[in-house]
């Protein structure tokens, strides 16, 4: 037992040296999570802060200017053009100068005063319908606020039912609070799975795997020696990403670190298991890497990182059941933002444990039989 432990430790040491001895690889593994979190933390936001719009105000009344002033004052919209006729709209949208055109018909103020419901035409560039939808939501909010002002200024009653909305865990609904914790899982998975997939393939390509086999190592010890270093590097990467989330983006950490790391280690076991399994079917490093990549893609896209799982068709939702990243992202979100404890995370923990058990034993079986 002790001898076995010593052998595994020696293998871990060798493996870590092999990966980290190259300064470029070392830097890439350590800095990449930080850079990606920084870049994507700023880039990947569905919140709009800058919407160029053009106004076609055919009414030119106090009411229509008050409405446009609401948009200008929102801090989100800035007016790039004042149009005088509808024909000017098309080129502005076509060449992406304006994302939104607001058209106010003549008689806007007269209709408002008469108690009618004048329409405000909003034309949006649907090339990215997601951005367009978000912009439309902001216009709606500005119009609502204009209506409230108009009604109180003209002694009209407010709508009888008011809504008071509140968001738990992320009061300002910032996309970044959702994204960065999710990236902790995604980035770690990418590197860990790749490292594990490459570790055996490298030895095989260089012919040192056969040498390893004639040593007293048992297959299980070789597996442990390959899995643990990849997990150690993954843990360091996750920590780096967490540091960026807290020290740079100042996203408050609500949970317990012990819970988080217990979950992460289980997740890393699953990722390494998949990586080692890929490694066992690949003949060369290149194959290992490409197979790993082909595996990572659906895992990343079907994890809830970019689009919600509840919007996927049922069959794809079923597929996400075998996706460790899906559970990891949910787990990091809930520990980080909600402060959930282990008792509330059981539904995330056991699937990852099963995935880890299945893939690790499948990899072990493949190694033993391929060597035999």
């Amino acid at each position: 037992m002790l001898a076995s432990l010593r052998r595994i430790l020696a293998l871990i040491r060798k493996e870590i040296l092999a990966v980290l001895k190259d300064a470029r690889t070392r830097n890439m593994l350590l800095l990449q999570p930080v850079l990606q979190c920084l870049l994507f933390g700023y880039a990947a936001t569905l919140d709009l802060t800058n919407v160029p719009y053009a106004a076609l105000d055919r009414d030119r009344s106090t009411a229509s200017s008050a409405l446009l002033a609401k948009l200008d004052g929102s801090g989100v919209f800035h007016r790039v053009a004042n149009l005088t006729q509808a024909a000017q709209m098309k080129p502005l949208i076509d060449n992406q100068t304006a994302l939104v055109v607001i058209q106010i018909d003549p008689n806007f103020q007269r209709q408002l005063s008469a108690g009618e419901q004048p329409a405000v035409q909003v034309i949006t560039d649907g090339r990215n319908s997601n951005t367009a939808g978000a912009a439309l939501g902001y216009v709606g909010a500005a119009v609502d606020s204009f209506n409230t002002d108009w009604r109180s200024d003209h002694g009209l009653p407010q709508p009888p039912v008011q809504v008071s909305a509140r968001a738990w865990y992320n009061a300002n609904l910032e996309t970044r609070w959702n994204l960065i914790p999710a990236l902790v899982g995604t980035i770690t998975m990418m590197s860990t799975l790749m490292l594990a997939a490459l570790s055996v393939a490298r030895e095989r390509e260089e012919g040192t795997f056969d040498q390893l086999l004639v040593t007293p190592f048992r297959p299980v010890e070789i597996m442990a020696g390959k899995a643990i270093p990849a997990m150690m590097i993954g843990t360091v990467q996750a920590t780096n990403a967490l540091l960026v989330a807290q020290l740079w983006f100042r996203i408050p950490f609500a949970g317990s670190y012990i819970t988080l790391y217990v979950g992460l280690i289980l997740f890393l076991l699953a990722a390494v298991g998949i990586g080692l399994f890929v490694s066992s079917i690949a003949a060369t490093m290149q194959q290992a890497m490409l197979y790993a990549f082909v595996t990572i893609m659906p895992f990343a896209l079907l994890s809830g990182l970019t689009t919600p799982i509840s919007s996927m068709p049922a069959i794809m939702q079923d597929f996400t059941a075998i996706n460790p990243l899906r559970y990891a992202i949910d787990l990091v979100h809930r520990v980080y933002l909600e402060g959930a404890g282990l008792d509330r995370l059981v539904s995330d923990l056991w699937p990852m444990a099963i995935i880890a058990a299945v893939t690790l034993s499948a990899a072990a079986w493949m190694f033993r039989n391929r060597l035999g």
């Binding site: 108690g115 419901q117 405000v120 649907g126 290149q286 919600p308």
Partner: protein, 382 residues
Amino acid sequence: MTDAAPSPLAAKARRVGALIRKESRQVLRDPSSFAIGVVLPLMLILLFGYAMSLDVKNVPIAVVLEDPSSQASEIAASFQMSSYFQTRVTRSMAEAQELMLSGQVQGIVRVPQDFARRSAQGDATVQILVNGIDGNTARIVEAYAEAAVAQAGARVDAEGAASPAAGGQAVVQSQLWFNSANDSRYFLVPGLIVLIITLIGAFMTSMVVAREWERGTFEALFVTPVRTDEILLGKTVPYLVLGMGGMLLCLAAAKFLFHVPIRGSVPILMGVSMLYLLVSVAMGLLISSGLKSQFLSSQVTLVVTFMPALMLSGFIYDLRSVPLAVRLISYLVPARYFVSLLQTLFLAGNVWSVIWPNAAVLAAVAIVLLAFTRRATRKSLG
């Protein structure tokens, strides 16, 4: 072979031809090339076309009916009938909170006890609590809930009071140009072409060439009569063909499977795709001849080409709303120009004021990168 001395041009063509043949065979023989050249594009098409959707559907929420009145049930009913939500009606707030804490619902709509009485007086409140972790979904839940409540409120009002409360307010009438059905596939599928070309062009090329460097077969090529340009040409052509194949696959899927309109001209679409493919292949070649290691070049290629093509190209996230520094970085991402071109050519048509500048940037980047690659490859001879 004929007796006459072959012209230098014919000899050159023969050398390049031989290299292309060698490279193509290598691609065809390796099952992993098949995985990335065919399986991955098909998989991405299926995932992007069928699985990924930013349209919110079936969000689980709880409606707490503390008021048994008919007005209150009407609000609950409007949630139950909507395809946006999977509604569970509960009687107590504590029960709903427990559902939210255990992650079974994403939001709570609470109709308080005095709702009917206070709505008769015109000051009723409905409370909405959403799990804000997924801010986008949360915002949509909020907006929908507000609309549903306002509708129910208007009905209550019409029955009860005589005041023209619904009048005297502006309403928004929206038109979504280029995508009137508001189908998120319309921008996901063109974006997919960017990702697939990036993967085949940059990722695959960089891996293959890095392997040649690692094994020393690249240096071996230098001692043959083949010139640097010819080596590069031999490396580029097979991946250009493979990349265009992936692109055609996507185009066919877009047209016949997902019915995304192609409003611009197809030859222009192919032309700019070729330009972007050239840029990708050049990036792959440059990275691999700079790093000469398979693991490093694959990781660097992912970080430098694929991730930016996904996140910094305007494909999903709007670049006008990112901070200035990130926007400046995004100008360095070739995928940005290609996304602009594709979105316009697919959905808007031949808008020359978009096509010319973006295509010119891509062409310039391709030339610069190929020149750099040529230098990087030649230098290692010395």
